[in-house]
Amino acid sequence: MKLNIVKDLLGARLLTGESDERLARFDIHSACGSDLMSDVLAFVKDQGLLLTGLVNPQVIRTAEMMDVVAICFVRGKTPDESVLALARERGMPILTTRYPLFIACGRLYNGGLTCGEE
């Protein structure tokens, strides 16, 4: 699923300023929703998108170590500019949605991002 479609399904706002054409070049095959970074780090599979309610810099670092393509913050959270700067340095698009974690994951799953399950 293209990242611009993810953005639409979540009614999300982009915080890192990429164009829609640029977002469409990010292809997301799987997603992970968690507020526990060590839990995220326990799954070495390719993680396309990380959904989380945490907004500290270690979320960006965790995503970097895991080769996560993009992050979406849930419950309308937005990180500090310094955190966004860290993401920009890494070319990592950052989204924010007003939906809570469960609903955000559900909308993506319904939209077809099933990570090969079903």
Binding site: D35, L36, M37, S38, D39, L41, A42, V44, T52, L54, N56, P57, Q58, V59, R61, T62, E64, M65, M66, D67, S82
Partner: protein, 146 residues
């Protein structure tokens, strides 16, 4: 990659935001060397867990990384409080992290078990009141004898 490459880092204990800089820098080096991406991930995730541990449990420390043609060796050394029962610390879910650390998304007691599952070898030596040494090895080829 004929020669050994040796990297070393100081881990600042007073700066949670900066935790992960050493791991991030090692990731860049391994990428430039053309190391397989699965191996890179296993090394840097393990390093990152140990780096976070050094910051949140030990007030900082040092990291040394040795990249050889056949393996990557990483050693974290700190002068923190040490670990009284290493066996227990290795258990999934065991954590002494504070509430504040938990609110940041850490303290699930998953770090050391994660390192164990991602590396080929892990050795922890700790002296209570003196500090902890965490060593890990990831082989670039299948180890002859594991």
């Amino acid at each position: 990659m004929d020669n050994k490459i040796i990297l070393s880092y100081e881990i600042d204990g007073g700066n949670f935001s900066g935790a992960g800089e050493a791991s991030s820098s090692v990731k860049k080096v391994l990428k430039q060397l053309g190391v397989d991406s699965d191996i890179i991930r296993r090394v840097v995730i393990s390093m990152y867990e140990a780096e976070i541990n050094a910051v949140i449990h030990a007030g900082g420390g040092r990291a040394e990384v040795e990249i050889s043609p056949d393996k990557i060796y990483v050693k974290f050394t700190d002068d923190g409080p040490g670990i009284a029962d290493v066996q227990q610390a290795m258990r999934e879910g065991f954590s002494t992290a504070s509430q504040k650390i938990r609110e940041m998304g850490f303290g699930a007691g998953m770090g050391l078990p994660n390192i164990k599952s991602y590396t080929d070898e892990i050795r922890i030596t700790s002296d209570v009141g003196k500090g902890t040494v965490v060593e890990m090895v990831v082989y670039l080829q299948e180890p002859v004898q594991k």
